[in-house]
């Protein structure tokens, strides 16, 4: 007999055997469970040729300071081969506050770009070819406002609404679990999401109004299985909401995409994505009666990996990033983005962003990841782990159902409590060395914090500039028109009508992010966070 081996248990609780063989494929049927790429249940990918026909889209998260500064960085990335954008907004914008609001002090332009009015969106995308570059807006609570600004800007640039491509993150339920940029109570926040889904399905059919984020819940403590299960429970809530409004599932659910994380055990993440595709296809067909293949095809950005990166020896994060890119590609992502190696310290430098972009390009074009579809399919371990993860995802979704569904589970704080407890246990496991982090708890060097990282400066001049531009817009706009359009926004909100048309008129009149949000706060109130530890 061989020597006893150390047990290996994945974060999702699955024990890994030292060797896998044909017996581990028992119960897995090729046609039903794996199938061909581009065919139900899409385990191997949603397109028949995947990257062979078109490599994954590269979409680094970018934005800081003023819209003009951000515009410059956008162009830098595009000139280096990036083919999509993902916009970072500062916290005041994310929280629906204008740059001159006292509560915004110290935060204007800090973690993203500031957007007060349509003017800022016009500046940010000036000269960016929005007809061929798809733009993702990382905005949640005030999505109706930013989406309206983007559509209005596109319209001015000659791209009609029914041609506009892009995504808004617009996943408020996950904000209550992780990331925390919520404003309104759960119920009206759900209605705002319903408004964007309904509006886009009718007027902007190429737009993805919601990107459901397992990503941030994973960062907040969810296991890989929970990341998918919780995200799907959230997606289910949005879809049920859309159906309750009288929409046909095939007219909007295919325009809900996903944002997932890539740090952790390589095999577990790859199988997570394969299992997730299969589960989504089954869920949409069997539970929602979807007919169109598009509705059953789970489309995802797989990227980031922030929680896997370390403050210690930050250069190691470049290496981690390249493995994460590999995971994303082997997992069959449509879109990829990587956290930069210096991101635990600062807004990434142009050099750090270029390294991330080059990492993705090397994976796509240099080492053969685009050659053949789902190359790991058929592996004893991969198929067995994929099946086990899908099973556990189903169990975890049932657990959320037992809590009363995701809307209820976040409103009462149950999910948040589970995530926080697991995050604590994760940290303890890192501290004890049970979960190995090189340079942190194993092979730790004397002085692990590098002096190499160049910190992004917080420029007060940029803040002053932003506030001055806002003041100028306020001076120059038609105040009567602003007042009238804002009254219409209030009216729509009070009557529970779709607010999108009224918000579009208001942003075109250069009403501000803060002015519109204030109306919603008046009408809807604000979320009271259940604080349970």
């Amino acid at each position: 007999m061989s020597k006893p081996v150390r047990p290996v248990v994945l974060e999702s609780g699955i024990e890994v055997k030292p060797v896998y063989g044909p017996e581990d494929l028992a119960g897995i049927e090729f046609a039903n469970d794996i199938g061909e790429p581009g065919q139900f249940p899409y385990t191997r990918g949603i397109h028949p040729l995947m990257y062979r026909a078109r490599p994954f889209t590269m979409r680094q998260y970018t934005g800081f300071g003023t819209p003009a500064e951000t515009n410059e960085r956008f162009k830098y990335l595009i000139s280096n081969g990036q083919n999509a954008l993902n916009v970072a907004f500062d916290l005041p914008t994310q929280m629906g506050l204008d740059s001159d609001d006292p509560l915004a002090e110290g935060e204007v332009g800090r973690v993203g770009m500031a957007v007060d009015t349509l003017k800022d969106i016009e500046v940010a995308f000036d000269g960016v070819p929005i007809d061929r570059i798809s733009v993702s807006l990382t905005i949640n609570a005030p999505t109706v406002i930013l989406l309206a600004m983007y559509l209005a800007m596109a319209d001015k640039r000659g791209v009609p609404m029914n041609e506009v491509r892009g995504t808004t993150q617009n996943d408020i339920l996950k904000e209550y679990v992780g990331r925390g940029a919520w404003i309104f109570p759960v119920e009206p926040a759900m209605r705002l999401i319903g408004d964007t889904i309904e509006f886009c399905s009718q007027h902007a059919p190429k737009y993805y109004p919601v990107s459901v984020c397992g990503y941030h819940m994973r960062e907040s403590g969810a296991t890989p299985v929970q990341e998918i299960a919780w995200a799907y429970s959230i997606a289910k809530a949005y879809i049920q909401h859309g159906i309750a409004r009288g929409l046909d599932v095939d007219d909007f659910a295919g325009r809900i995409s996903f944002n997932f994380n890539i740090f952790g055990n390589l095999w577990e993440q790859i199988c997570k994505f394969r299992a997730a595709r299969r589960l989504w296809a089954r869920l949409m067909r069997d539970e929602f009666g979807a007919q169109k293949p598009e509705t059953m095809q789970m489309k995802m950005l797989a990227g980031g990996g922030g929680a896997g990166l370390t403050i210690e020896e930050p250069e190691n994060n470049i290496v981690r990033g390249s493995y994460y890119a590999l995971i994303s590609a082997l997992g069959g992502a449509q879109t990829m983005a990587l956290c930069c190696y210096d991101e635990a310290y600062t807004i990434p430098t142009p050099r750090a962003q270029l390294i991330s972009l080059r990492t993705m390009q090397i994976v796509a074009d240099e080492i053969g990841l685009s050659d053949t579809v789902d190359p790991l399919a058929g592996s004893y371990y991969i198929e067995s782990l994929t099946a086990e993860m899908e099973k556990r995802m189903v169990d975890e979704m049932r657990r959320v159902d037992e809590m009363g569904g995701m809307v209820q589970a976040v409103a009462t704080g149950q999910i948040q409590t589970i995530a926080a407890r697991q995050a604590y246990e994760f940290e303890r496991a890192v501290e004890s060395g049970e979960l190995v982090k090189i340079g942190v708890n194993k092979y730790r060097s004397e002085n692990p914090e590098s002096g190499e990282v160049e910190l992004h400066p917080y420029r007060q001049a940029a803040v002053d500039e932003q506030i001055a531009r806002l003041a100028q817009v306020r001076r120059e706009r038609d105040t009567e028109l602003v007042a009238r359009t804002l009254r219409a926004v209030r009216d729509a909100a009070e009557k529970k009508q779709n607010v999108m048309p009224a918000v579009l008129d208001a942003v075109k009149a250069y009403a501000t992010t803060g002015e519109i949000t204030k109306i919603f706060k008046d009408v809807y109130g604000v979320f009271r966070e259940p604080v349970i530890l």
Binding site: M95, G180, A420, V531, L533
Partner: protein, 135 residues
């Protein structure tokens, strides 16, 4: 047996990244301390008021957006204005090296940037509280 140490874990400002705050709050709790967590999006005024009302021994401030200097400065002012100057102030988050001494100058007693060990944070608070008990 002395009374348990009372800690207020606070999330000031607009930053919603609360994983660290919650993990540290649980660590304090597991170490036998009484923990009050403010929840997100608190003004420094509200935090100072909670520190006073709850009569806490320790305030743990968590900031990841980069606005830690302005927020700490403001909180110290609000605490002074209320005469609540006896609480130990510990600041955690995404804090660059060069800001750590500045935070101490502003009135923080300890600074624990991302990557700090939970045991180090708990022992620091314990040791400081013991020191104070003997002063």
């Amino acid at each position: 047996m002395s009374d348990p140490i009372r800690v207020l874990v606070a999330k000031p400002g607009l930053d919603g990244h609360d994983r660290g705050a919650k993990v540290v709050a649980i660590a304090f709790k597991e170490a036998g301390m009484e923990v009050i967590y403010t929840g997100l999006h608190q003004t420094t005024d509200a935090i100072a008021e909670a520190a006073l009302q709850e009569d806490v021994d320790v305030i743990g401030l968590s900031v990841l957006s980069g606005a830690h200097l302005a927020i700490t400065r403001s909180l110290v002012e609000k605490l002074r204005a209320r005469g609540k100057t006896d609480a130990l102030l510990v600041v955690g988050g995404n804090i660059p090296k060069q800001d750590r001494d500045v935070l101490i100058e502003l009135g923080a007693d300890g600074v624990f940037p991302t990557g700090s060990r939970l045991d180090d944070i708990v022992s620091f608070v314990r040791a400081k509280m013991e020191e104070r008990a003997h002063e």
